[in-house]
């Protein structure tokens, strides 16, 4: 661990990224302009389910400015589908969790049938996007519509048409796991409660849509791809495989990326298609997704139905949790069984529960595919579990906070073996933290449980409805399989770092500079960080699943440790002092306690060179450059307690959040301001999911919410007063003590809001077991007459 010198870790160092972004000098994929560039527009299915009989491209091909038009049939020989197993499942996982996984492959452009509204069936390459879109309209098609599999009920029906005939079923995966006695334990439970919960479909919706630019160099047979992606190495791998090129000849760069949140966390058909087109046409090719396409074609998320049964005793101790849930995966499942696997692993949350049984079906429907979005299964399962906890409390007339305290794992029980297996195949152990303390602090911040309940009672006597909503969760972070980093001491003595992390606003260039500067005890200005470029790190994984702070720092540390051995060996030799008497200082190595005896990194780098005049001792290879891969032992566990006070307007059903508190623990925070921004940003996304955002299909599989007019994102006016308190329990799993936190903020808000409204409407025994929480539904709980509950009060002004 970095020692007594105040380092950069823990400091809210201003971001390096800010200057260029504030000046309009960022480089997003749509900003890339190359000479002779062509532009792609994609023809997209208007049918949710149809056989492709015929596609006539002739008029499009002869339209103004068009270079090429292709359909699925044209690429059938050249480009294989994307494998359904982009996300691999480690052997350890399949040994311990019952899995039946058959994820369908996704064709780049289908040639037999289309399976969701928005699926591509042809594309045009033209001089500019305007002309390309004109040409798309000239494509004539003959589709044979099939009955749509519009919902999971449709999909599971015995007579349902099959989306993927070769699968033989509309199910991509079935998972099952058990702990203790599983469902059997319900039989002896003093109390049981059973409910269905629904967490609806919504999406990451970054402000920057997706986009790909590809440039092929015929002289060297190399491809450069710029993609607004979270996984440059995955893109490179898939493109190299598809085009039969060595990975070395394919470079993938994610320039500035305008948000991802999981929606850009896998390889899409366009990543490969645009690369193929660039090579085929020998000209740079650009495809920029527009917002309407984004609604149709970029992955959606959530959309789970949970059937849950809880067994508990008279004291509110939960003994058994049984859950059976269905994921509406849409037409494909790019991240396989990952979301459901997460949900299953996270359901028991921060609670000490001996019996558990969970089953899940990942169901295929004629909808846009479902892939992880910030939280990736945890918001869905958190909604079910945290609603259930409140319902248990209601049954016994106990305070929901009290029930949580009674069930929570205590700090002195850490590390705590859960008895389940994580997605990485390793048995789950909550490594550190104080769950009850987080809940206590959250309640304290709102005035303390007693005073909250008193306020609530007093308000009710005045015809006002105030509620307390709680949401507690744990989050496995820093997942493997690995991350890569290359560290180098440059000839000028600067520390140069490249890592496979792919930021979309997380400030990685700053964060990893801080970590590196502390590792090497240099001023942060002497550290240069490159991210998201496959040319700089041979193998990398990417930024998703709240993993980069842990895994990229880990890789940077491994590589640095290896170089340090060399550095010290060379310094020891030159300074003629034993390694144990040397220390890192002043951008070099010096003898402890002897200010005059020092050698700079620059001079060490020179000494380390190969060839004549090198100054390396015997046994030390040339160069100060190492690429390392950090393979985390398993995930490290962040957690949070959320609490909010809301007031419900009885006349209009509007929900006013008076105060929202999140006590969040992600271990040591490298850059507290950045960490805070991540949690708060996620939190506001969660509020959107709980109250505003909704993707809706009609009963025929047509998408009804295809623009920002219908899909409502939280704006500045929608944000309530928010307090985030960071509880920093260092992770014992890595030497920096860090945990991941990118996703956390988005996990609890939907259930916190639902719980708060139900708490406020306790007199009506209200139950809200689905999202989003709608004003109209809340108003209806009060009865038909908006004036009945408020005869003595004026309705509070909600809108202004």
């Amino acid at each position: 661990m970095p020692d007594s010198i105040p380092g950069y870790i823990g400091q809210s160092v201003p971001r390096r990224e800010d200057k260029r972004l504030l000046r309009g000098e960022g480089l997003f994929v749509a900003d890339i302009q190359l000479p002779n560039m062509l532009h792609v527009a994609i023809a997209r299915s208007q049918f949710p389910h149809a056989r492709i009989k015929d596609i006539d491209l002739s008029k499009a091909l002869s339209a103004e400015g068009v270079e090429l038009a292709i359909s699925g049939e044209d690429i059938l020989e050249h480009l294989p589908p994307i494998s359904g197993m982009q996300l691999t499942t480690p052997p350890g996982y399949q040994e311990r969790v019952d899995t039946d996984i058959q994820i369908p492959d996704q064709p780049l452009i289908p040639h037999e049938k289309v399976r969701f509204v928005g699926e591509p069936y042809a594309l045009v390459v033209a001089k500019n996007r305007y002309l390309a879109e004109d040409a798309i309209e000239l494509i004539s098609t003959n589709f044979d519509p099939m009955p749509p599999v519009a919902t999971t009920d449709d999909a599971l029906d015995r007579n349902a048409p099959l989306l993927h005939e070769n699968l033989g079923r509309n199910v991509a995966a079935i998972l099952h796991t058990k702990k203790g006695k599983g469902a059997e334990a319900l039989k002896t439970a003093p109390h049981r409660l059973k409910r269905r919960f629904y967490h609806h479909r919504y999406a990451a919706m970054p402000m920057e849509c997706r986009g790909v630019v590809a440039d092929y160099d015929a002289r060297t047979d190399t491809l450069t791809i710029w993609s607004s992606t979270q996984v440059v190495h995955w893109v490179r791998r898939e493109v190299a495989n598809s085009l039969g090129m060595p990975e070395e000849n394919v470079r993938c760069i994610a320039p500035d990326v305008g948000g991802g949140f999981g929606g850009k966390g896998h390889v899409y058909p366009e990543d490969i298609l645009v690369a193929y087109l660039a090579r085929r046409l020998r000209r740079p090719v650009k495809w920029i997704e527009d917002r309407h396409e984004h609604f149709l074609n970029s992955t959606h998320s959530r959309d789970n139905i949970y059937d849950v049964e809880i067994g508990f005793d008279n004291n509110g101790r939960i003994e058994t949790v049984v859950s059976d849930f269905v994921v509406d995966s849409g037409a494909y499942s790019p991240i396989g069984a990952g979301i459901a696997g997460n949900s299953i692993a996270h359901m028991l949350g921060p609670y000490d529960i001996p019996n558990y049984e969970a089953s899940s079906k990942i169901v295929l429907t004629n909808r846009t595919p479902n892939a992880p979005y910030r939280g990736a299964g945890r918001p869905e399962v958190g909604f079910a579990m945290e609603r259930a906890v409140d319902l248990v409390a209601n049954e016994l007339d106990l305070d929901p906070a009290e029930v949580r305290f009674r069930n929570m794992i205590k700090a002195d029980q850490m590390p705590y073996s859960v008895g389940l297996t994580y997605r990485d195949g390793v048995p789950i152990v909550y490594d550190s933290g104080d769950y009850p303390k987080a809940l206590e602090r959250a309640l304290e911040e709102l005035g303390g449980l007693k005073s909250i309940r008193k306020r609530q009672k007093d308000a009710l006597s005045q015809g006002r409805y105030i509620g307390l909503g709680l949401g507690c969760y744990v989050e496995g972070t820093g997942v493997g399989p690995f991350e890569g980093a290359r560290v180098k001491i440059d000839a000028t003595g600067k520390i140069v770092v490249a890592t496979g992390a792919c930021p979309q606003g997380q400030g990685h260039e700053t964060v990893f500079a801080q970590v590196t500067a502390d590792l090497w005890k240099v001023p942060i200005e002497d550290v240069y960080v490159t991210v998201a470029d496959t040319a700089h790190v041979t193998m990398g994984y990417g930024t998703l699943a709240s993993r980069s702070t842990v895994t990229a720092s880990g890789a940077i540390q491994l590589a640095s440790d290896e170089i340090k051995e060399k550095v010290f060996a060379i310094a020891s030799d030159i300074l003629e002092t034993g390694v144990q008497d040397l220390e890192l200082r002043d951008s070099g190595v010096g003898v402890k306690g002897v200010p005059g005896m020092h050698i700079s990194f620059r001079d060490i780098a020179t000494a380390a060179r190969p060839g004549w005049g090198h100054k390396r001792p015997e046994g030390i290879d040339a160069g100060l450059e190492v690429t390392s891969y950090y393979e985390p032992p398993t995930v490290t566990w962040s957690y949070a307690s959320n609490a909010a006070i809301v007031e419900v307007n009885p006349a209009t059903g509007q929900v006013l959040i008076e105060n929202y508190v999140e006590v969040h623990d992600a271990g040591v925070l490298v850059n507290p301001a950045i960490a805070d921004g991540q949690v708060k940003g996620g939190l506001v996304q969660g509020l959107g999911g709980g109250l505003l955002e909704e993707i809706t299909y009609d009963e025929n599989g047509q998408l009804l919410t295809g623009s920002f007019m219908d899909y409502l994102l939280p704006s500045a006016s929608d944000v309530p007063p928010i307090t985030v308190i960071h509880q920093e329990t260092p992770s014992p799993l890595n030497s920096l003590g860090v945990k991941g936190l990118g996703e956390g903020g988005a996990i609890a808000p939907p259930v916190v809001i639902a719980n708060a409204v139900c708490d406020a409407l306790r007199p009506f025994k209200a139950e809200i077991n689905s999202t989003p929480v709608r004003w109209g539904d809340v108003a209806a709980i009060f009865g038909d007459d908006p004036f009945k509950a408020t005869s003595t009060t004026t309705t509070p002004e909600m809108d202004e």
Partner: protein, 158 residues
């Protein structure tokens, strides 16, 4: 469609370029004038990332055709800084953590400049309403509002 010549002032400099009538001002700025700082987030006038200042007022550049900008004075994010000297709002954005991915930032800055410069006595609740015009998916808005409030204080001379 035939291209038309357009003559306008952008960030204080006179510019001449051609565009067909259906080309949006946003695309024109980005592609014909190489000013890619203005971003396109939706093309239906909701997200606000494309906001520029036209004759002193914030407008959605995705909802104007380039030909409509004839003889107008446009200011984009590239015109805020004075060489190496950042505009005070840019400095405040960084200090208050008002950006993460930076994609909405052009829209936020230009909207804020219009709001505050044209109404220096603007209050925090009015700032909250005014800044609702632009969507941000990363920050949760807290830093943005703080930065704009601080800018208003500066302009007012407090």
């Amino acid at each position: 469609m035939d291209e038309q010549s357009i003559s306008l002032t952008v960030n204080g400099t006179e510019q001449n370029a051609k565009a067909e009538p259906r080309m949006s001002l946003a695309d024109f700025l980005r592609e014909r004038l190489g000013l890619t700082g203005t971003h396109i987030g939706c093309e239906h006038g909701v997200c606000g990332a494309c906001t520029v200042i036209c004759d002193g007022m914030a407008v959605r550049s995705c909802l104007m055709f380039a030909v409509q900008a004839e003889k107008k004075e446009i200011k984009t994010i590239e015109g805020l800084a004075d060489g190496d000297t950042m505009h005070p709002l840019q400095t405040l954005f960084s200090e208050h953590r008002a950006l993460q991915c930076g994609f909405c930032t052009p829209g936020m800055l230009m909207t804020a400049v219009d709001l505050v410069d044209n109404n220096p006595s603007i209050t925090p609740p009015e700032i909250k309403i005014g800044m609702s015009a632009v969507l941000c998916r990363c920050t949760g808005y807290e830093g943005i509002l703080k930065a704009v409030e601080a800018y208003a204080m500066q302009i007012k001379g407090v």
